[in-house]
Structures are given as C-alpha cells and as structure tokens.
C-alpha cells in the first residue's frame, strides 16, 4: 500500500512537467509581474516546484487566479498575501523578513562580519617578521 502511494505520488509529480498557457495581458509590465509572481509561489500539491513549473490542476487554478488579479491591477504584495492567507508561509518561496526568519536572513551576514572583524583585528595589527626569524604562533 505504502509503495503504491509512493508510486502514485511519483507519477503525479512526473506529469507535472512543462505547462504552457497563453494568457494575454494588456501591458508588458503586467506580463512580467505575472511571470515573476508565479515563479515565487510554491505549488502546495507537488511540493518542490513553483506553480509556474507545475502542471498539477491546483497550480493551474492558482496561476489563473494570479492572472486575474494581475489583470485587475492587484499589487504583488496583495497577491502574495492572498496566497499566504490560504496556504500559509509554505507557498512563499521568498521567505518574508519577520522575527521567525531573522536568523535565516541575517545569520550568514553576521557570521561574515564577525570573521571580517576578527581577521582585521588580528592580522591588521601584526608585525611581519623578516624571513630569517620566522616565528610560529603560540
């Protein structure tokens, strides 16, 4: 049974390849916005694809909603909020900058700054000896 389910899931995700829709937009900006948004939303059904890449029925519906909202002039922020309200943070491939994500967003930079300062302090102050008297640290 478990195997069967795995196989079914696998098949579902495999059909989910290359979808092509021909929505028409009034302006180039709208088309770009649409493309940008569908590339930032994660398909809740197929798990590791954006709704742009996925062929699942749900992704198709979500793309249609995005298309409608973009055509109505809804802002990107509101469209993402609409999706977040329904599917949670899971759908946002661009994690929002909020307290629970602070570590994610700022830790790498913080680590780098600490290293940078440590190096500047340590190496910057060092007197370099001449070749003959090369000393070993500590």
């Amino acid at each position: 049974m478990k195997k069967l389910i795995t196989i079914m899931i696998l098949m579902m995700s495999l059909e989910a390849l290359a979808v092509i829709e021909t929505y028409e937009f009034e302006t180039k900006q709208q088309e770009q916005l649409y493309t940008e948004i569908i590339h930032e939303l994660r398909c809740p059904k197929c798990q590791n694809q954006t709704i742009a890449e996925s062929n699942a029925g749900l992704s198709e519906d979500l793309r249609y909603i995005v298309y409608q909202k973009v055509s109505d002039g809804t802002s990107k922020r509101d469209i993402l909020a609409y999706m977040q309200e329904r599917y949670g943070d899971f759908v946002l491939y661009d994690p929002p900058v909020k307290p629970s994500n602070y570590f994610l967003w700022f830790a790498p930079l913080a680590v780098f700054l600490v290293i940078l300062i440590a190096v500047l302090l340590k190496v910057g102050r060092r007197k370099v000896t001449t070749e003959q008297s090369e000393s070993e640290e500590e």
Partner: protein
C-alpha cells in the same frame, strides 16, 4: 544465479572492508609490516569484488531478469540497451552500489598511486576509507539490497525506467557527480590520518592537493552536467532550481573549492593548518549529509529517491559515527598542530583567508536555507519554504566580494605587499571592464543595474587573468617565452578563474536578457516573438522504440532570414503511459533558441513556448574551463617530479622536492 553471486561478492567485500577498517589502524600504529601490506591488498580486492558485484547487477539488467525486484521496478524489455545499463544507477539501490563502487575505486587508486608516501600514513588513509566502505556496504546489504528477488510472482515485464531518466544525462551525470562526492573521501581520510599522527606539514598538504583537485574536477563537471540535463530535459529552460538535492551537491563543491585554496596556502606557507584539516573533514561530511538528505526523506525534493525512515536512521547513525568521530579527533588533536602565521594584512595569505571565509559563509548560507524549513517546523510547527528568491539574493551578496577580490588575490605576493602600488596597476583594467560591461549591456537590450554589476564583475575577473598574462609576457623577450615562464599550476589557476568569469557572464546575461514567450499557434501560421518569427509548418506522429511521439516542426526566422529548424516532441511512453515533452534547442555560443510543445488547444492551435537564451552555454562552458584549470594544476611538474624521485633514495628526495617547491614558487611571483 547471477544476482546471488552479486550478493555473495558484496558480502565478501563487506567482510574484507571490516578487516581493512580495523586492522589498518593497528598496523599503522605498530608499524606492522604484514598488516600494512594487507591494507593495500585488501583495498584492491574490495574494489575487484564490488566491481564484480556491480557487473552482476548490470548483467541482470541486460538479461531482463525481472525476478530481481530492482530490475523489475526500473527496467522494461522495450528499453534500449544503453538505458538498461544506465538504469543500474537509475534509482536508490543501484545508485548506492555505484557509490560504493566509486568509493572502493578511489581506495584502490590510493593504494596504487601512493608508493612514495610514508607507509603508516597510507595505511591510515586506507583504514579510514575502509571504515567508510563498511558503512556504505552495510547500508546497501541491510536496507537497500539491489539483488533482492521477487518470489514467487515474477513479473512478465518490468515497470520501466522513469522516462525522465531515459536520457544521455543519466548515463553521465550520476557517475561524474559521485566521483566528486566520493572523491572528497580521500582528502578526508588524509586529514584524519594527518590528525592522528599529529602533524600536518607541507608534504601532507602536497599529497592531499592533487586528490582534492581531481575530486573537485569531477564534481564541477558533474554539477554542470546535471544543470545542463535539467535545462534541456525539463522543458522550462531553467538550469538551477536551488532544490534541496541540488544544494546537497553544491555544498560540498563550495567547501571543496575553499579547501583547494586553503590547501594551497598550507602547502606553500604552512598557514591555516588546522582550518585546512577541518575543512577537509567538513567537505566530505557535507557529501555524507547530502546523501542523508537525498535518501532519508527528511526533505521533499523532485529528485529524491523513494524514501524509507529505516534508511534515514541508518544513514544518520553512520553519519553520526563517521563525522562525530572525525570531529572528535579534530577536537583532541588540532591543538597539537602548529601553524605559521607570518603574514600581513595585504598578502596572498589574507586574500586566501577571505576567499575561505566567503566560501564558508556561502556554504553555511546554502545549508541554512536548505535546513531552515526543518528548523522552523521544529520550533513553530508550521511549514515554510526557502526558495530561489532567497538563495539568488544571498548568493549574489557574497559573490560580489569574491569576484572583486579574485584578480587581486591571485596576484598579490605571499607574506606582505604594499597595497597602493599594487592597486595602481589595476586601475586601467578596472575602468575598461566597467566600460566594456556598459557596452555589452546596452547591446544586449538596455541598462539593468544588476546586469551591469554582474557583467562588470565577470569582465573584471577576465581582465585580471589578462593583466597577469600581459605582465608576464612584457617582461620576457617574446610573448611565447613569457607564456612558457608561467608554471603549470599557475596556468591552472588562471584557467579555472577564467572559467568562473565565463560562468558568471553566462549566468548574468541569460538571467537578465532571456526572452520567454508562450504563444498560441496553428499549423501554417507564423507568429512574431520579439525579433523572431516562428513558423509552424508541419506536424507528425511517429513511433520510437518504447514511445509514440507527436512532433511539430518550426522554422525560426530573424529579419526574414532562416536561422533554424526545430522539432520539439511530446512523447507518450508505452510502459508507464507517461507523457513527456522533449524540447528542441538550437544551441549556439552566444544564444540558444529553445522550443517546447505544450498542449493542443480547443481551436486546433497548439500552445508552445519559445525561449531565446543569450549566453546560456557559457554557464557550462565555464565549468569546463574550471575542470581544465584543475587538470593543468595537477599536471604541474612538482607532482611529476615526485614520481621520478621515488626511485632515488628517500633522503635525497626530501631535499630535492623542497628545492623544486622553491623554483615553482618563483614562477608564481
């Protein structure tokens, strides 16, 4: 019968590995001659046993032996022979056997090519690798045995290999990538052996370097092949998705890149010794972590193998033992390692330090982004995602300083150099890269700020390589003489950095100036996509070996001039009934034109996608240069010298190689 032989050979290899992974340490510690000789022989025999076992599995595939569960689930009588062979590593069990085969292959290579190394060191290295082999063979035997039979109901035909995998990509990508992944086990084993003996001198670094570089070459090519495969196979023109499985291969590559650089500093100047050892441990640990992430089901991924928590636990326990033990050894022994640190702020050492800091932070960032959803869930219970927008932004932030420092770092002197006169030599090159980038960006379609920055940086790295070559040749009587004065290993570095520049340019230009258009088109119709006219002139249904196909034919014109004729397909595979799209691509050095068949629409028209991707080939071209750079570096005469030397007496050898080291360093000034 053949599968049973395969299984038996695997068990034999397992028993051998247990001896190798334990007795070697005793042998090295007591310097017992017989045991040390045993470790070499055992390494070779394990390799032969695994190879034979692998051949047995391959034969089961070739003979369509569907009584073997793994074959029945991943092959089919209609499958062409070359895919039946590559199907061996098309799923979890077989790919694990490939992993083991490659590991033992590296082990045998160490046993063969290490005659000049101190025997206790080699014995320890083989012992560590043997220990790793024990874990992975056990994993194969006890949780993922590819030789398991399906009795009593033997299927008449197999359920076919996933059509996505029926491709040239499957033949080359996994073996290449695994060569890299597993290849880092050598330098890992060297680091452990070095830490155990409490000494990491420059000889240690010199021995470790070529092994690391070779693994890194395979890994670079493996990742690039995977990216290229995804690009043409998945049919949406993407080449990197920041999927957890991709990240799992990217992290060891990043760490390995840092390792190559820190090994250079350790060899040449005796600096950063403990850091280099730690980095060697971390690089292979990240390979193991990748294996865990891909095969345990802890993360979801489009690429991940069918999952089973038992496998996850097994790998995790093994990962814990191997990495835990090695970090423990590091914790205990690293204080004994003495590094030199006689260098100023403006020196090659500091430049390499920053290179390492930045690469380590990028590795950390990728790890954090990959694991963050798990961490988040553990603390808040909610699911979240980290995807391309995060990784692209963060990666860019750290790539900018790496690229800015690259041309300076590769040419600044060891130890110390006054910074102002040095920078003065770069001004003209910097200004010309900005101007050239401006020209490129304008020609490509308009000034996008980030595109300009990226292009400038790519050209800046190219300029750095050019500056060095011109500087060297100007000093010599003739251009060719000047080129010859540059040592092989320095050439290797230049070419690899050139590769980075090429990849950067490819990434930037294709990201900012691609055209992607979905159009509705009827047979006989011509549709305009930006500057291109697309004519849909023919449609055919054909039959392949194990699929039926609908192919459209399109002529692409630019200014009424025919550029290319493309035939994208939609295929339906007979056994699995899966529908796949096969894009057709007109590849070029400066642009790809890429057409994908979508679905037929209600009114007889088809939805198709047309992509125009400038410079996309440069992404992979760059990695070929990087690999080439690696090859040049390992062909340096220092390493060849060593082989010639081994005939001479040991004492003579050590003084001689020191002298060699000096002359080749002179070439690097």
């Amino acid at each position: 019968m053949i599968p049973e032989i395969g299984n038996f050979l695997l068990i034999m290899a397992f028993i051998n590995a247990i001896f190798l992974g334990t007795l070697s340490f005793v042998g090295a510690h007591t310097e017992h001659d017989g045991l040390m000789r045993f470790s070499k022989r055992a390494s070779l025999s394990i390799f032969v046993l695994i190879l034979a076992s692998f051949v047995c599995l391959t034969l089961s595939f070739i003979n369509n032996d569907f009584s073997v569960a793994y074959v029945a689930n991943h092959s089919n009588t209609q499958l062409p022979l070359h895919y039946r062979i590559s199907a061996v590593w098309g799923a979890h069990e077989g790919s694990l056997l490939l992993w083991v085969l490659i590991l033992t292959g590296w082990m045998a290579a160490v046993a063969i090519f290490s005659k000049s190394l101190p025997r206790p060191l080699v014995t320890r290295v083989l012992g560590v690798m043997g220990f790793i082999a024990v874990g992975f063979i056990a994993f194969t035997l006890f949780t993922s045995n590819p030789f398991e039979r399906v009795f009593p109901f033997i299927p008449i035909d197999g359920s076919d290999l996933n059509p996505l995998l029926q491709d040239f990509g499957l033949i080359v990508h996994p073996p290449m990538l695994y060569m890299g992944y597993v290849g880092f086990s050598v330098v890992f084993a060297f680091a452990i052996a070095g830490l155990l003996q409490g000494d990491l001198d420059n000889k240690w670094a010199r021995w470790s370097r070529p092994w690391t570089t070779v693994a890194w070459i395979f890994m670079s090519l493996g990742i690039a092949l995977g990216s290229w495969w995804a690009y043409y196979e998945l049919g949406w023109g993407g080449w990197w998705f920041w999927d957890p499985v991709e990240n799992a291969s990217f992290m060891p590559w990043l760490a390995g890149t840092a390792l190559i650089h820190s090994l250079a500093a350790t060899e040449k100047r005796g600096v950063f010794k403990s850091w280099t050892a730690l980095l060697a441990i971390l690089t292979f640990s990240l390979s193991l972590l990748g294996t865990f992430l891909v095969r345990s089901g802890v993360l979801t991924s489009v690429h991940s193998f069918a999952n089973d928590p038992v496998r996850g636990r097994f790998i995790l326990v093994f990962l814990g033992i191997v990495v835990g033990a090695s970090l423990l050894i590091y914790a205990i022994q690293s204080s004994k390692i003495r590094s030199k640190s006689n260098f100023g702020l403006f020196s090659r050492e500091t430049a390499l330090l920053f290179n390492n800091a930045l690469l380590a932070v990028v590795t950390f960032m990728v790890l954090l982004g990959t694991l963050h959803p798990l961490i988040q869930e553990a603390f808040t219970g909610g699911k979240s995602s980290v995807g391309p927008p995060y990784f692209n932004l963060m990666f860019t932030i750290f790539m900018v300083p790496i690229l800015i420092l690259m041309p300076i770092g590769q040419q600044i002197s060891w130890k110390q150099e006054p910074i102002k006169p040095l920078l003065a030599k770069y001004w003209l090159w910097a200004i010309s890269s900005v101007l050239l980038a401006l020209a490129v960006v304008i020609i490509m379609g308009g000034i996008e700020q980030m595109a300009l920055v990226g292009t400038t940086l790519g050209l800046w790295v190219l300029a750095g390589c050019a500056k060095y070559i011109f500087g060297q040749t100007a000093k010599s009587d003739s251009f060719v003489k000047g080129l010859k004065k540059i040592s092989r290993s320095y050439w290797g570095m230049l070419v690899a950095h050139l590769g980075v520049a090429v990849t950067v340019l490819g990434v930037v230009l294709t990201s900012y100036f691609s055209i992607e258009e979905n159009i509705k088109i009827r047979q006989g119709q011509t549709v305009q996509v930006e500057d291109l006219s697309v004519e849909f002139y023919d449609f055919k249904n054909t039959e392949g070996p194990n699929y039926i196909s609908s192919a459209g034919s399109f002529r692409i014109y630019s200014n009424d001039e025919l550029i290319t004729d493309l035939h994208p397909e939609k295929r339906k595979y007979n056994a699995s009934k899966m529908v796949m799209t096969e894009a057709d691509i007109d590849a070029g050095l400066f642009r790809d034109i890429y057409v994908v068949m979508g679905e037929p629409l209600n009114d007889g028209a088809w939805a198709i996608s047309v992509y125009y991707k400038p410079f996309v080939r440069w992404i992979w071209l760059g990695s070929i240069f990087m690999a080439l750079g690696g090859l040049l570096a390992i062909s340096d005469k220092r390493y060849r010298q060593r082989r010639r030397d081994k005939k001479k007496e040991k004492k003579a050898q050590s003084t001689k190689s020191k002298a060699e080291g000096h002359t080749s360093e002179a070439g690097n000034e």
